[in-house]
C-alpha cells in the first residue's frame, strides 16, 4: 500500500461516526449556563481529518499491514524483548465487558472476580520470585524499576538514612532504565564495567560500595546472556554496606522455576508481564510491571493493596508507609488477566519447560550463528548462555565495511526483525538475538539462514545491503530530518508550517519566552 497521511484523505463534511445528541431538556439546561461558558467556547472546530467510516477502517487496516508483528515473523531478532507467543485465548478472555467495562471504584462486591485474579497473580509471582509480596500496579518494566527505587528511597528515609544513602550501583549490561530511574529519583549512579570474561566485576563492586550506597540494581542474566554466578556475593557485599539489592528480572524467561530472586538474597525484584508472562507488546505498550519485595520492604509497596478475607477480596487503601501512587488504581488489568491465564495454562512444570526450552533454543541458535563467517559472540568464550546473546559483526564489518545497522535493515527485506542493542555499543557492531521458547527449530533455522544470506551479500554485493531496504513500503530515511530542530516535524501541522507556510517556525512565534 502507498497509503497517504490521514489528513490528506479528508473530505470536508464526511463523518466517521455520529454521536449521541443532547435531549431538548439538556439543551435547555446548557442554555442556562452558556454565559459562564462563553469565554471558553472554541471559535472553530479542531482541524481533524474528515472521513467516512469505511475510509477510516481502510486507512488503518492498510497501515496495519505495513507492520511486522510477532505473529507474522520469526521474531527472534528483537533480543532482550522476549518476543514470545501471546496466546489468542487470552485475547478472547479479556474482551468481555466483565473486564473492559469495570470501573475501579465500583462496589467491591461487583469486583470479586477481577480482585481474585489480581490476588492470585500476585501469589503466583511471589512464588516464582520467592519474595514476600507483590504489586502489579505499574504499567511497564521501567515503571516497576521506578517503584522499586522509590521504595528503596522510602526505606532508607524511614531509617533516617535518606540523606546519607544517595548512591545506586548498577552494571553496564543491566537495562539502562535502572540507571535512568535511579537518577530521576535523585540518586548518583555508579556503573560497573564487566571483567575480562564479560562477567560483572566483583572487585569493582567492592570498590564501589560505601555508607552512601542506597542500592545495587542489577540485571541477571545480563543483556549479554551471561549469568552472574557470583550474584549472591554481590548481594551480600551490598547488604553488608547497608544497602538494598534490587533485581531487574524484566527478562526472567530463561530461569523460571530454575532460580529465584529470594535465593540470592534480593530485597526487591521486578518482572515485565509483557516479556516473560506473554502479554503482547502492543506496538510498544501497554506492558505491565510486577514489583516483588521481601517482608521488610512490603510496607512500602504502592497503594492500594488487595487483601483476601473470609468475606471475600477487599481493597486496602491504607498503607501508612506506602510510597503512595506510582500509577492509577490497580494496574494494567487486561495484561494482568492475560498473564494470569498464561501462568494457569502452563503450571509449575510448564513454566520450567518454558525456561528450559528457551535456553535450549538460545544455545542452539548460538551454535548456528557462530558458524556464520564474520559473526561472533564476545565474552565468556566457550560458555553457554541463558536467554539471549549479544553477538558482534565486528569481523564482517572489518572485512566489508557493512555495519550491523545496515545488516538489520537488509534483514527486514527478508521479513525478519533484527535489533542491535542499547547504546553504548560496548560490543562493537552488536546484534542481540533471543529465540524464547516460542519458535520451533525449523523457524530458528529459517532465521539463521536469512542472517547467513545477508552476511554473504555483504561480502559479495555490499551495495545491495548498504542501499536496503528494497522490499519495504518506504526507502532509506534521511536522519537529519529528525535531528535538526529547523527541519523536524513532530506533527502534521508542524510539517505544514515548516515546509509550506513560507515562514520558518521560530521561537518568536511561540506565545511564551522562558525562564
Amino acid at each position: 500500500w502507498d497509503e497517504p497521511i490521514i489528513f490528506e484523505l479528508s473530505t470536508p463534511g464526511e463523518r466517521g461516526i455520529l454521536v449521541s445528541q443532547a435531549e431538548p431538556a439538556a439543551v435547555e439546561a446548557l442554555g442556562a449556563v452558556e454565559d459562564q461558558l462563553s469565554s471558553l467556547r472554541r471559535a472553530s472546530a479542531p482541524a481533524l481529518p474528515e472521513l467516512a467510516q469505511m475510509r477510516v477502517v481502510r486507512h488503518y487496516l492498510r497501515i496495519s499491514q505495513e507492520n511486522l508483528g510477532a505473529d507474522f515473523n520469526v521474531d527472534i531478532g528483537q533480543g532482550t524483548c522476549t518476543m514470545k507467543y501471546s496466546p489468542k485465548v487470552n485475547e478472547t478472555i479479556i474482551r468481555t465487558p466483565k473486564l473492559a467495562e469495570l470501573h475501579p471504584l465500583q462496589d467491591e462486591a461487583s469486583l470479586q472476580g477481577v480482585l481474585e485474579i489480581f490476588w492470585r497473580t500476585e501469589q503466583a509471582i511471589a512464588e516464582i520470585s520467592g519474595m514476600h509480596a507483590v504489586s502489579l500496579q505499574t504499567q511497564g518494566g521501567s515503571a516497576a524499576i521506578w517503584a522499586n527505587i522509590s521504595m528503596i528511597r522510602a526505606f532508607h528515609e524511614s531509617n533516617g538514612e535518606g540523606e546519607v544513602r544517595d548512591e545506586v550501583i548498577t552494571t553496564i549490561f543491566s537495562h539502562p532504565s535502572n540507571a535512568a530511574c535511579a537518577k530521576a529519583a535523585g540518586f548518583k549512579v555508579i556503573t560497573l564495567m564487566p571483567d575480562a570474561n564479560g562477567y560483572p566485576d566483583i572487585e569493582a563492586l567492592r570498590a564501589a560500595v560505601s555508607p552512601r550506597t542506597a542500592a545495587l540494581m542489577i540485571t541477571n542474566p545480563e543483556d549479554t546472556g551471561i549469568y552472574n554466578h557470583k550474584i549472591r556475593e554481590f548481594v551480600q557485599i551490598v547488604h553488608e554496606a547497608g544497602g538494598l539489592a534490587a533485581y531487574d528480572q524484566a527478562n526472567a524467561n530463561g530461569i523460571l522455576g530454575i532460580t529465584r530472586a529470594s535465593d540470592a538474597g534480593f530485597d526487591l525484584c521486578h518482572f515485565n508481564l509483557h516479556k516473560t508472562f506473554s502479554t503482547p507488546h502492543a506496538s510498544g505498550g501497554p506492558g505491565a510491571g510486577a514489583s516483588a519485595v521481601s517482608e521488610r520492604l512490603a510496607p512500602f509497596l504502592p497503594n492500594p493493596r488487595i487483601e483476601k478475607t473470609d468475606a471475600g477480596f477487599t481493597v486496602n487503601y491504607g498503607g501508612e508507609k506506602s510510597i503512595g501512587k506510582v500509577a492509577p488504581f490497580f494496574g494494567v488489568a487486561p495484561n494482568v488477566v492475560r498473564a494470569y491465564a498464561w501462568i494457569m495454562a502452563l503450571g509449575a512444570s510448564g513454566l520450567r519447560q518454558v525456561a528450559e526450552i528457551a535456553v535450549l533454543n538460545n544455545n542452539y541458535l548460538l551454535a548456528l550463528v557462530r558458524q556464520i563467517p564474520g559473526a561472533s559472540a564476545p565474552y565468556a568464550t566457550g560458555k553457554h548462555r541463558i536467554e539471549q546473546v549479544r553477538y558482534s559483526w565486528q569481523e564482517l564489518f572489518e572485512d566489508t565495511g557493512i555495519s550491523s545497522e545496515e545488516i538489520g535493515i537488509r534483514m527486514s527485506d527478508y521479513g525478519m526483525h533484527y535489533w542491535t542493542s542499547h547504546h553504548p555499543y560496548l560490543v562493537p557492531q552488536p546484534f542481540t538475538l533471543e529465540p524464547t521458547e516460542s519458535y520451533s527449530k525449523t523457524e530458528i533455522d529459517e532465521y539463521v539462514a536469512a542472517l547467513a544470506q545477508v552476511a554473504t551479500e555483504a561480502r559479495e554485493n555490499p551495495e545491495l545491503v548498504r542501499s536496503a531496504p528494497h522490499n519495504q513500503t518506504v526507502h532509506q530515511i534521511d536522519h537529519d530530518d529528525l535531528d535538526d530542530p529547523a527541519r523536524w516535524a513532530i506533527t502534521w501541522r508542524s510539517y505544514q508550517k515548516k515546509y509550506f507556510s513560507g515562514v520558518e517556525a521560530t521561537l518568536a512565534e511561540e506565545p511564551v519566552s522562558v525562564g
Binding site: S64, I93, A179, D263, G284, P485, E510
Partner: protein, 456 residues
C-alpha cells in the same frame, strides 16, 4: 492427564527435536546450559503453583468463570468518574487495535514497522490539532506520569525548584506527582475559590523559585477554569511556566489551553477510545510548542516525518533520539520504556472517526447533560452543588443539609443498580456524566436520590 507433554506454546518440547538440537550445541542435557547458576541458588523440584488447565477449553472456562463474578458498568447506571470515564468506544477502534499486526508488534525499525510509526505520528498530529500545539509525545504510561514528567521538565527548563498547585486536584495524582518530583522539586498548594483558581492568592505565592504554576481544567471536581489567561500572564511575569493538566476530550467545544498561554499541556487519553478496563487502560500525553528547549527535555519518544531516498515519499523516525535514556542511560531525561503505544493508536483511530464535528458534538452533549444533571440534582431537598463554576462532565454534590453521608447514599443506590458517584468527603459525592448518560438516566438518579433522602 494429557497423553503428551508437548505444549502448544512450546514447540520444541517434542523429545526428538530436543535431542537433535542438543546435538548441535554439543551439550548432553539442558542442565548443561545452567552451569553458571550455582546449585545453592536452584529451586528444588517444582514451584508451588496451582494445577494448570492444559486444555484451552478448561482454561477459558476457569478464567471467564472468575471474570463472570464481576458486574460491569454496562449492568448498572454508572455515574463513576474520578479519573476513569465511561465514554463510548467506537467499534472501529477495537477493530484496529486488536489486529495482530499492531497488537504483537514491538520495536521494529521505521522500515518494516512503517505502519506503526505512521499510526502514532497521525495520533500525535491529531492531538496537536485538538490542542493547537505542534509537538505531542508518543504516549507515556498515563496522565499521572505525563503530569509528573511535565512538572519535572518545568524544573529542568527553568532551573527552579517550586511548583504551585493551584486547582482542585485528584489526590491520587498529587500522590504520584509528589513521589515522582520530590527529590528535585517542592509542591506548594494554593487552595481554590469556588472551584477555580484563586488568582490573587496565586499571585502572592509566585516568586523567583517558582518553576511552574500547575492547574487542572477540568479540575478534579469538573470545574472549567475561566481565568486561564490571567494565570498564564502571572506565571510568565514571574518567569515560571504554566503547566495545564486536562482531558483532551473537551477540546471539540472548548478553547484549548495553548490559546490562553499554556506552555506544557498534559493529561490522560483514556477518554479517547479506551475502555475503562478497571482503571487500567491509560495513556499520557505531553504537548509543547516547537521549541528545542522544551523538546530536548521530553523523555518520551517523539516520532517525526522524514524524507526518504525516493522523492515525495514520507518516512518516519525518532526525533532527537539522543535525548532519551535508551541512548544516554542516566544522562538521558528521566527514562523511556514500553509505555502505551497501542492506546495511542486507539486514540488516533478515535479522533479520526470522530472528526471535528464528532468532537464538537460530543463536547456539547456532555456539557448539556452535565448542566442538566447539576440543575436536577441541585433541585433535590438537602442537596446542593459544591461550587457554582461551569462544569464539564463532573461536579460535586454536597449532601450536608440532607443529614445523610455520601457513603450512605452510595450504599442505598447501589441496591437499585445505580452507582451514584465517588465519595470524596463525608458528605461529598463526585458525580460524572458522560455522553452515555442520558437525561433518562439522570432522572432515574434524581428520583432514587429523592426517595432515599425522604426516608426516615
Amino acid at each position: 492427564m494429557q497423553n503428551s507433554t508437548v505444549h502448544p506454546y512450546i514447540p520444541n518440547t517434542v523429545p526428538s527435536v530436543i535431542e537433535e538440537m542438543l546435538a548441535v550445541t554439543g551439550a548432553t542435557s539442558i542442565e548443561d546450559f545452567y552451569e553458571d547458576i550455582p546449585q545453592s541458588l536452584r529451586v528444588k523440584g517444582l514451584l508451588n503453583l496451582p494445577e494448570p488447565f492444559l486444555a484451552e477449553a478448561e482454561l477459558e472456562e476457569h478464567v471467564t468463570g472468575l471474570l463472570n463474578k464481576n458486574r460491569s458498568t454496562r449492568e448498572v447506571i454508572s455515574f463513576l468518574g474520578a479519573g476513569v470515564y465511561n465514554h463510548y468506544v467506537p467499534s472501529v477502534v477495537d477493530e484496529v487495535i486488536n489486529r495482530s499486526e499492531f497488537l504483537t508488534a514491538y520495536a521494529g525499525e521505521p522500515y518494516e514497522d512503517h505502519g506503526r510509526f505512521q499510526a502514532l505520528f497521525e495520533y500525535t498530529s491529531m492531538m496537536g490539532e485538538l490542542l493547537n500545539m505542534d509537538v505531542v509525545n508518543v504516549p507515556t504510561y498515563d496522565g499521572m506520569q505525563a503530569t509528573a514528567t511535565a512538572l519535572a521538565m518545568a524544573g529542568r527548563i527553568t532551573g527552579r525548584s517550586k511548583i504551585i498547585v493551584a486547582s482542585d486536584t485528584n489526590p491520587d495524582l498529587v500522590s504520584k506527582v509528589t513521589d515522582y518530583v520530590r527529590s528535585h522539586t517542592e509542591l506548594v498548594f494554593v487552595p481554590s475559590v469556588n472551584g477555580l483558581v484563586d488568582t490573587a492568592a496565586l499571585a502572592a505565592r509566585l516568586d523567583a523559585d517558582t518553576a511552574a504554576v500547575w492547574i487542572q481544567t477540568p479540575s478534579f471536581h469538573g470545574g472549567l477554569e475561566t481565568s486561564g489567561q490571567v494565570i498564564a500572564d502571572l506565571a510568565h511575569e514571574a518567569g515560571a511556566l504554566l503547566v495545564v493538566g486536562t482531558d483532551p476530550i473537551a477540546y471539540g467545544s472548548i478553547t484549548p489551553p495553548a490559546d490562553w498561554g499554556a506552555d506544557i499541556v498534559c493529561g490522560e487519553i483514556q477518554s479517547l477510545g479506551i475502555h475503562q478496563w478497571f482503571g487500567g487502560g491509560r495513556g499520557g500525553f505531553i504537548a509543547v510548542h516547537d521549541d528545542p528547549k522544551f523538546i530536548m527535555e521530553m523523555p518520551s519518544r517523539l516520532f517525526g516525518l522524514a524524507s526518504t531516498s525516493v522523492e515525495g515519499e514520507y518516512g518516519f523516525g525518532d526525533v532527537a533520539w539522543d535525548r532519551t535514556s535508551f541512548a544516554l542511560r542516566e544522562e538521558g531525561k528521566e527514562w523511556v520504556g514500553t509505555a502505551a503505544a497501542l492506546w495511542g493508536i486507539a486514540a488516533g483511530v478515535y479522533l479520526a472517526s470522530m472528526g471535528p464535528t464528532g468532537m464538537s458534538d460530543l463536547g456539547n452533549t456532555v456539557l448539556a447533560r452535565t448542566a442538566y444533571a447539576q440543575a436536577q440534582l441541585a433541585g433535590i431537598d438537602g442537596v446542593s452543588l459544591g461550587d457554582s463554576a461551569a462544569h464539564f462532565r463532573e461536579f460535586v454534590l454536597d449532601l450536608s443539609a440532607s443529614g445523610k453521608t455520601a457513603a450512605e447514599v452510595v450504599t442505598a443506590l447501589r441496591a437499585l443498580n445505580i452507582e451514584p458517584g465517588v465519595v470524596i468527603g463525608e458528605h461529598n459525592l463526585l458525580v460524572c456524566v458522560t455522553e452515555r448518560i442520558t437525561t433518562a438516566h439522570i432522572d432515574t438518579l434524581v428520583s432514587a436520590l429523592t426517595d432515599f433522602l425522604k426516608e426516615k
